[in-house]
């Protein structure tokens, strides 16, 4: 059994978070992960307060274990969904796409543990000072919005920069990734791509099959020109987008408009032509659609075997 300061503080059997993914991380998946002993997370994405409140309540019906909510700070409804968290009090709030400092005091006062996703040491230090319980150091191997640093470079630097627990994210989909993250100083991991193929994940079956069919070099980063780099599976959508991105005659607004709704088309409609299938570099390591519980159990059994045998390397 692997226990860390993180799993102990949050009452988790396994120190693993399921990433908050727009159109993917709904109550059913979050509850399945929490019931399996990890921390399930509902994505507030760009949705309004009513959606989030309904999802939180649905999750409470499906599990009595702790779960979290991910707040996307660029959401047009960010103030409303931040308030819903204060009222509904999920155990954890994770944040992405910005600095959450303006909301942190209210969440902390409500007894919520705030755990922002950070792509740099400076951001980690700022949120630590504002009372963050932990940080998620997410490397650019991950799917969705990505920073420049890789997980193996970012995690130890964040571990050195702050005193709070660090959760490693990006590029982790099996026991080897978990063991490596712990060796880098992380107290837990966050996985997203792997859970796309959980039985309980509601994304369209085309999305799951695309992840399972993916090979190592099948993800690509788009949107760097707009300062919104996003990693997804290579498709006709990403090919067309990249052509436009490198075409100087395409304006920033045109490029922005091209991406609108593309994730929904992938996740809800399974639209292979126009959908943007967000996934990390580990997509090729996901081979089957399984219950979240099986994924997590196998992952931590693997990590435990590796960590127990780690002394093999020391003579």
């Amino acid at each position: 059994m692997i226990t860390t300061v993180l799993s102990e503080a949050l009452g988790l059997r396994y120190p693993i978070f399921q990433g908050g993914m727009a159109w993917v991380s709904e109550a059913k998946l979050a509850a399945a992960v929490s019931n399996a002993g990890g921390l399930g997370i509902i994505s507030a994405m760009n949705a309004n307060a009513d959606y989030l409140r309904e999802q939180i309540r649905k999750c409470r019906e499906l599990t009595d274990k702790p779960f979290g909510v991910n707040i996307m700070l660029m959401s047009p409804f960010v103030k409303d969904v931040a308030r819903v968290c204060v009222e509904e009090k999920p155990a954890v709030v994770t944040t992405g796409a910005g600095l959450p400092n303006a909301y942190m005091k209210d969440w902390i006062d409500a007894g919520i543990k705030v755990i922002p996703v950070v792509p740099s040491t400076a951001m980690a230090k700022l949120v630590e000072r504002a009372g963050a319980f932990a940080v998620i150091a997410e490397g650019g191997e991950s799917g969705g919005h990505v920073g420049d640093l890789s997980t193996i470079a970012l995690v130890p630097q964040v571990v050195d920069a702050v005193k709070i627990p660090v959760i490693a994210a990006g590029g982790i989909a099996d026991g080897r990734g978990v063991a490596a993250a712990m060796m880098l100083g992380a107290a837990g991991v966050q996985c997203g791509t792997m859970f796309l193929c959980a039985d309980e994940c509601a994304v369209h079956d085309n999305y799951k099959q695309k992840v399972i069919a993916a090979k190592d070099i099948d993800t690509v980063v788009t949107g760097k020109r707009l300062n919104h780099a996003v990693r997804s599976l290579r498709t006709s959508f990403t090919r067309k987008y990249l052509e436009k991105e490198f075409d100087p005659s395409t304006s920033g607004d045109e490029l922005e408009a091209l991406g609108v709704g593309a994730l929904r088309k992938a996740a809800v409609d399974g639209n292979m032509e126009e959908g943007c299938f967000l996934a990390g570099q580990v997509a090729a390591m996901v081979h089957a659609i399984q219950p979240a519980e099986t994924m997590i159990r196998n992952m931590f059994q693997g990590a435990e075997t590796l960590l127990k045998g780690a002394s093999t390397w020391v003579k």
Partner: protein, 74 residues
């Protein structure tokens, strides 16, 4: 060097900008700074100026930061 000049220098260094194009009334968004850049800048300013800068919604322009720093240095 005035507080504004010091801060303008740090912004210019953080984002590789021409210092002459940085004006007090400009917002972080005008300067093309995203949250990652702002975090970096705040840490650099704290090291250089020996102050503590808490990020808040009222901190929008270069002048806002200058005022905050001057207040702390009194």
């Amino acid at each position: 060097m005035s507080t504004f000049e010091t801060i303008a220098k740090l912004i210019a260094e953080t984002k590789d900008l021409d210092i002459n194009n940085i004006k007090p009334e400009m917002s972080f968004a005008d300067l093309g700074l995203d949250s990652l850049d702002v975090a970096e800048l705040v840490m650099n300013m704290e090291d250089e100026l020996g102050v503590t800068i808490e990020i808040s919604p009222s901190l929008k322009t270069v002048q806002d930061v200058v005022a905050l720093v001057d207040e702390q240095k009194k």
